[in-house]
Homo-oligomer: 403 residues x 2
Amino acid sequence: MNQQDLIAQLREDNGTKIVMLVADGLGGLPIEPGGPTELEEARTPNLDRLAKEGTVGLSIPVAPGIAPGSGPGHLGLFGFDPIEHQIGRGVLEALGIGVEVGPKDVAIRGNFCTIDAEGRVTDRRAGRIPSEVGERLVAKLAEGVKIDGVETLVAPVREYRLVVRFRGEGLGDRVADTDPLQTGLHPLAPKATDPGSEKTARVAAEFLRQAKEILKDEQPANFLMMRGFAKFPAISTMEEVYGLRSAAIAVYPMYRGLARLVGMTVVEPGKTIADQFAVAREQWGKYDFFFIHYKYTDSTGEDGNFAKKVEVIEALDAELPKLMELKPDVLIVTGDHSTPSRMKSHSFHPVPLLIWAPATVRPDEVTSFGERPCIRGGLGQILAKHIMPLAMAHAGRLQKFGA
Amino acid sequence: MNQQDLIAQLREDNGTKIVMLVADGLGGLPIEPGGPTELEEARTPNLDRLAKEGTVGLSIPVAPGIAPGSGPGHLGLFGFDPIEHQIGRGVLEALGIGVEVGPKDVAIRGNFCTIDAEGRVTDRRAGRIPSEVGERLVAKLAEGVKIDGVETLVAPVREYRLVVRFRGEGLGDRVADTDPLQTGLHPLAPKATDPGSEKTARVAAEFLRQAKEILKDEQPANFLMMRGFAKFPAISTMEEVYGLRSAAIAVYPMYRGLARLVGMTVVEPGKTIADQFAVAREQWGKYDFFFIHYKYTDSTGEDGNFAKKVEVIEALDAELPKLMELKPDVLIVTGDHSTPSRMKSHSFHPVPLLIWAPATVRPDEVTSFGERPCIRGGLGQILAKHIMPLAMAHAGRLQKFGA
């Protein structure tokens, strides 16, 4: 029996509230040997108090040594095995901009590009055209493309990026990307890598043929490329597994999309973390579980800006009392992966993890929240997918297993 | 290959002795924030010495977040995956009152109820009749019911609860409960949910028909309902997996039953832990493995009596030198789950674990036995099912794997 089935069998509703605060890319590294990490450097009196009252540890997002993208990183946090449940890029991009993806759909990431008179790619991002231009071109495609027997949808993402969705019977998603990955080459023709995806490849080829005609007089975005062909994955919802009415309060489309994938309701988040906590307060009575996503710990890490990452951690900490005023029964603070500013990228390092739950927590000897103290925490080092069962247990939402 | 098969392949007999001392529900919680747990509060010079000489850690009974009943808790300690090997409720109830269950048996939980003239349930627990009444009615059923080709056994549990056991050929256990779960409805007829259980359903229906006649003039317990139909689970014995001649020294029927389930010999335990250790001394030459069960750490926790739980831990500690005089090669001290007196119930919290084995232990820096020190122990946090392989290894009873 897998974890979801076991939890679904044991869960019960007792009206408790669980908050999962995900500081994206939270984990870090010292910028110089022997120094503190970003989280250790940051002045975080509120997180430190929660660490003292609660228990800490380290979360391994997927498996030892594996640096995850946002998709697997979050699926793990939601309690699903990220290796077993893989989500295609096209689906993630579509969900992120609010495009629904259902069982008959294939979603594809598109990007406008520039081709020369011979059809060779001269700019893979079409000069990073502004979003308004991207939106106009997407509208032109949506208006112009017609393919028999398949419903097409085209939607803008940002700048040169768009989503294409095909809806119809018999559309597999095993189609290779058309991006040649360097300039001076022709875009590749869509090619199926299994027989069940031949129709999708034909539909995509026809879409690209019509698009080339429609865009031919545009500059610099006179064509597009497709990648990340993906179908909706078979995955249970938060309600099915945990019986939790779940709300996502996330500013960025990707995380809203991931939350939708597991059946969360996406509520309007405002712009800042203070807004997000205010939204949690407004919605407090309507949901059992709140996923609150904070992006800036990741983006500052990706930028390699140690000082700025420290600053956004402190900014998050400063707002925490507003969240604590809601008196959640269980608060989880962690990240979906580490993004050390020294590496300027997602990394495989385990992520600091904090569980605060006044009714049930067994405290440890740790009194501050940071990578080193977390090594000595009571939670040990656990797979991210085990966090949700622990949250459910701390919330008193799991019956005893067996007699 | 599963763990049992691997161990069975590598095991060898070298005459060493392993003792597993299970303090039921050992793990606890501080009764007030920042305070000690029951085990930390208790004065335990002997356990502390063993922790110092040995190595400690924490045992996760089933999986993170899962609070187990006694059945899965002990199966884990005996080295079996408690999710893979689930023991039906009827079998556990039977074991709990000392009713043996074998391969030809189906065990069922029964409860007396009250029905009206139309046969509708008016009280699902027959007014919680006292145990003496329950015992009298069980004797009446035991005397009166006769079913061709099947041996029936009826035994009282407590108040309105009883156990029914059918012994015969071809008795499956896929039969639905007959309790309609609310008053005003007729009890359900026993219904097989697979073809192999049709005979059991027929036998149960005949049992209920005769019982209704026998009980018709009783008040308020004039009928009974059946639930938790269960067969003896397919599970290997301690001898098959580990090659260990194993003795169980347990006072309470449930733990004797669980030990029998995995093929241990149940020896008469006396009444106190001192008696149990004396029995171990008497039986020392006859067995390789001794499972010694101490109940009171659980029952005091269930009662929410922190001070009393501290006291029974101290009482256990005080007797330990008598066990150590036997010079076991390996001593395991742990619990099947936590029972924090603050929660008055089994909980999911990991359980303090101690392995003492003078010939092979790699000591850690921990010098006392308690929840917080165990976090820093050399064993880390491990699944309970991994304890037996470690015990076998420390006993020198496992050959090298591969060349």
